[in-house]
Structures are given as structure tokens and as C-alpha cells.
Symmetry: C2
Subunit: 344 residues, 2 copies
């Protein structure tokens, strides 16, 4: 299938490079409103379409891939679907569920596939956590923490601007939440969220988000852009062990119980003693490596083609995407009200 | 002043050892309802009073130190105060603010000093955080996290029993909250708390507690007893740097901005790219040691004597202790309701 990339910034170029390894899709060209990006595309030997309309008018184009700022997704997607194109769209797909519902309605009317690029479902850190939970190494799972922390602030482009869909909830929250709900099944009963704006940006520069699931499990999701000493990407807590993934290189491991041990002896801790927080003895714990899962994010594109041809179900389903959009709306609402929002 | 230690378990013995270095107070003896502890006290060469009444009847006893389970503090304190003794009491002083108010009322009526052993105000990790905030190294402070995490569960004594005042909020929460409010001034506007019971105990085995202050600063307090890979004791986030204290040995440091740097280059992170979360360049950050503060927890006892003699104000004030009790009640209420509680 012929594909054109619309929006040729960082993500557009990343798609361009990734698609080189996907034989089912042929990049016919790109389009961007900025002249320097048009020139850049031509320098890579690909066609720079003169306008978005020219992309839609080209009958060789079966797929439009949208990698433009978040506020433009809806209008561009609707136009492309109505022009008979299948659409791959960057995340977050829309600024609210109402916009998203309109896209999905048009997709059904036009009988064209609309699929959101939730590429981080192919993150190996996340897939490794999924395997750890499936293997049950940690005993009964009760809490997890998922963090992405940086110190460089929000880049000085549209990501800082509210009306373009900027802010860390829409940028990173959308990924972290999309992964969490595949790790913890069931309804989300409570959403508590606190956004922060340490350097005074109009969009959220970071947040703490606390979720409670109907099974009683909880999750803490944290994103920061003003954090100079990052905590681990993942912590997964079970009754018999804890898994930690420190960073994108998948450093980390599992520490688990190895049999019981006698009542702890108090240790000196600061100005007092503690028996409760005494460390385990070495004999009573075992250190295990992470059961690392390998993945290929290009499976996203391959599945897209098969789904467009009606041969496979899409791996990223629109009802899943909608649920995460609604969850982000609940998080914004929780912050605004200073209250817990009952979600599902 | 002559002092008797009532309750000669772990904390009672710890007081006994600490008081050896305090010339202003003389340990006249101990009392415990358990025979083996009476024998143990005698083996240390101190007198084992035959009953609590015998302690109160002894005119040489000016101070009663209560290191008994939490549910017994109120009745013992009231009796001691009414017998004309000054009282040092272990924390948490009472199971609720109503009990506490009664003790304070009796203390005023009897004109005797009642002071709670908030020993962790002398913790060097906490005092170091206090100095970091005072020195302003981190720029504008906006968030901190205080954690105490262990994996051995709750010790199998009264700490597991609700009616004895067990559970991690009353055991550790009382300390961590008592320190937090000296680090972040002003009213606490919102309290969100989620207790956990991973191994099914009747008391809380751990919790996440999220506080919002009137100045907009936030704090996350976490205690766990089923956590096998502890996070740092402290994280302090400012606009220009982050301080981390890893453990009780005061390992850790400060990472701070060293000038601005050009727009980040995207890095590969899992299945995607990120510009926002690219690390700082080495030239753009500076690593500083922690400004470690040293302390002597025996200053607590020395101040107690001076305060009982009317020469100094007590370092641990009853209205401070009451505020923390009310805060813990708000935390329990937040968990029970599944809601944010408006506190002050």
C-alpha cells in the first residue's frame, strides 16, 4: 500500500525511517506546512507533496499517516477518511473524546481503517512487566508505579501550548495509561491526579496520577520535566517480591522472598530504632534477572495493513483509545476539582 | 529529675540506653506487665517497680516515661499527670484527637508537662533536607517525597492489631508527617490517602499519602512493609535541582542546573523517540554533596527537663502533635471515603 507522511517533524521522520523495514507499505512522499521540512524530505530522496489536498487527490495513496500537532489530527483525519484513505494517526489522537468520536463515526461511514499509533505498546520495558505479571513470580500483585522523568523542561515547540494539545498528560500520560490498563484488568474505580507547573508553563509540566482498580490493585503514574534524579521507570509490587526496571536499557531485576525468616532485630535508623524496616537477611531473598521480552515496533504497521485488508483485527482498537482519552479527561477533572473522580 | 520507664520493650530499652548520656535525668527504674521484662530490667542493674501504682506512689519519681502500646497511653498518662508526675510519651500518643485532648486538659489542670517523644525530628536525613530547603540550592521548591520502605511485613506483636493502635500510619506515618509540616509551611488544603493490606492484615500495612499545601507545594509520603527494592528516603524537587537521600547512611546528593543548554536532541527510548526526556548534557548539570546536619537526639530529654522547670519552651508542642493526629484522621477518612479530604 502506498503511504504518505503528513507532518515531517521528529515523529514524521521517525516513521519514515521505521517504514524502510516494512515491505507491506511504500512511502510515496511527505507533506509539511513548513518549507524547510519539505526541502529536508526531498533531500532524503522522497517526494514532497505540494499540499494536503494533493495527497488526498493522489489515487496511489491508500494510507495517510498523520504526525502533525495534536490539535490538527481531527480535521486532517476526517478529510483523509472522507477521501477514501486509511489513516494512521499519532497520539494523542484528539484533544477530547467528542473529537475522537467524530473521527470514529467518519471512519465507519467511509469504511476506512483509522488506527492510532500507540507505539509504546511495543516498548520492551512494558512487555517485560507484562511477562513478570503473567509468570506470577511476585506472588499476589497489588501495586505498580510507572514513571518517565526528565529535567530539560518541555521542548519549546507546540508541546508547550495548550491549544495545540501540549502538556505532559497528553504527551506521555497517554502512553503510560495505555500500557497500565493492559497490565491491570478490570474497571478503574477511582482517579486522583495532581498536575504541576513548576516553571509556570500554561500546560502541565508533570503530574502524579493515582488509579484504583476494581480488584483493589493500585497504580501510581508520574511524569516530570523538572526532575534531576530520575526514579526507576517501573516498580511492580507483589506479596512475595518486587520487580524494578531502572531505565530504557532495561537495567534492573527482581528481588523476591526465599523462605521465611525469624522476627527481625531492630536496626538503628536515624535518631531511632526500627524493627519493622529492618532489611531482609541475605538468605531470605533471591535476586532474579528480568525476563526481558524483545519486540519489533514495525509489527504495528504490518498489522495495520492486514487490518485494512480485513485479514486481522487491529492491534490498537478505537474503543481502547477512547477509554484512555476519557481517563485523561477524568485526570484533568480530578486536578481541577481537587477531588477523586469516580471513573467506571 | 528521677524518671521511671513504663513499658520495657524495644523502645523502653532504647530510652534506657539513651538516658545514660543525659545527666539531667536519672533512671530510677522500670515497670512492665511482662515478667520477663521485669527480670531483664533487673539484669541491667535497675529497679523493677512491682506495679504502675508503685511508680506513681514513689515521691522520688518526677517523670514517667511511657513506652507501652499505643492504646494504653491515654489512661496511663492521665493517671501519671494526676499523681503529679511530668510525662514523656511514646508516639502516636493516642488513637484519636479526642483522647489526646483529654490528656492535654489533664496536663493543664495538674500543671505538669506532657511531651510526646517525636524523636525523628532529630533524624539527620530530615535535618539535612531542612537545610537544603533553607539554603535554596534547588531553586523554587515545588514537591517532595518521603518514603520508608521494608519487606518484612509488620512485626508479629501489637503493631498488627488495630485496637492496640497498630498499622503503618500510626507507626511511621506519625513521624513522616510530623517532619513534613516543618519543611513545608502553611495550611494543608487537600489530603488524599490510599492504605494497602497486601497480606491481608487488619491494620494498614502501607500507604500512599498525597498532600497539597496552600502555597501549591505537594508532598508524597509512602510507607510499605511489602516492598523488596526500596526507593530513596527523600526526593526534594525544585525548579533548578533535585536532592536525593538514599538511605539512613545519608548516601545521596544534589543534582542541579549549571546554566542553560540548547534544545535537546531526541533519544531512542523503548519503541519510540523522546526529545522531552532526553538527559541533560554533563556540562549543564552540577553534582553537589548533601549539606549533612548532625544532631543529638538526647537534646529531646534535656529540653524536656528545662521545659518542666519552666526555663525553656518544649521543643515538641502539644498543638503540633494534635495537628498531626488530625492529619492522620483525615488520611484514614480519605481512604475510607475514596475521596480527597479538605483539611485546613
Amino acid at each position: 500500500m502506498g503511504l504518505v507522511i503528513v507532518g515531517f517533524g521528529g515523529m514524521g521522520h521517525e516513521h519514515f525511517r521505521k517504514l524502510e523495514g516494512v515491505k507491506e507499505l511504500t512511502v510515496l512522499g511527505t507533506f509539511d506546512v513548513k518549507a524547510d521540512r519539505q526541502t529536508f524530505a526531498q533531500s532524503l530522496g522522497t517526494k514532497a507533496y505540494p499540499s494536503f489536498e494533493a495527497v488526498l487527490d493522489d489515487p496511489k495513496v491508500a494510507v495517510v499517516l498523520l504526525a502533525t500537532p495534536n490539535d490538527s489530527h481531527k480535521d486532517l483525519a476526517v478529510a483523509a477518511l472522507q477521501a477514501g484513505k486509511h489513516v494512521i494517526c499519532e497520539k494523542p489522537v484528539a484533544l477530547n473524546t467528542a473529537e475522537f468520536d467524530e473521527i470514529v463515526r467518519v471512519s465507519k461511514e467511509a469504511d476506512r481503517l483509522f488506527m492510532v499509533h500507540q507505539n509504546r505498546r511495543w516498548d520492551e520495558d512494558y512487555l517485560t512487566v507484562k511477562r513478570i505479571l503473567a509468570e506470577g513470580t511476585l506472588g499476589k500483585f497489588y501495586h505498580l508505579e510507572s514513571r518517565v522523568l526528565g529535567s530539560r523542561g518541555i521542548p519549546g515547540d507546540w508541546r508547550k501550548i495548550a491549544r495545540f494539545g501540549g502538556g505532559m498528560m497528553l504527551d506521555w500520560g497517554v502512553h503510560l495509561l495505555d500500557r497500565i490498563v493492559f497490565l491491570i484488568p478490570g474497571r478503574i474505580t477511582q482517579v486522583f491526579c495532581k498536575l504541576n507547573h513548576p516553571t509556570g508553563q500554561e500546560v502541565d509540566e508533570g503530574f502524579h496520577l493515582f488509579l484504583t482498580f476494581e480488584g483493589g490493585q493500585t497504580a501510581l503514574i508520574e511524569v516530570e520535566t523538572c526532575h534531576y534524579q530520575p526514579l526507576p521507570l517501573w516498580l511492580v509490587l507483589g506479596t512475595k517480591g518486587t520487580a524494578m526496571i531502572k531505565d530504557w536499557s532495561l537495567a534492573g531485576g527482581i528481588v523476591a522472598q526465599a523462605g521465611s525468616e525469624p522476627d527481625a532485630k531492630p536496626i538503628v535508623a536515624g535518631a531511632g530504632l526500627t524493627k519493622t524496616m529492618a532489611p531482609r537477611t541475605e538468605a531470605a531473598e533471591v535476586h532474579l534477572p528480568l525476563p526481558v521480552v524483545k519486540s519489533d515496533v514495525r509489527d504495528f504497521y504490518r498489522n495495520f495493513v492486514q487490518a485494512a485488508l480485513g485479514r486481522e483485527a487491529p492491534l490498537v482498537k478505537n474503543d481502547e483509545v477512547r477509554r484512555i482519552m476519557a481517563l485523561m479527561e477524568a485526570a484533568f477533572e480530578s486536578h481541577r476539582q481537587g477531588q477523586v473522580v469516580a471513573f467506571e
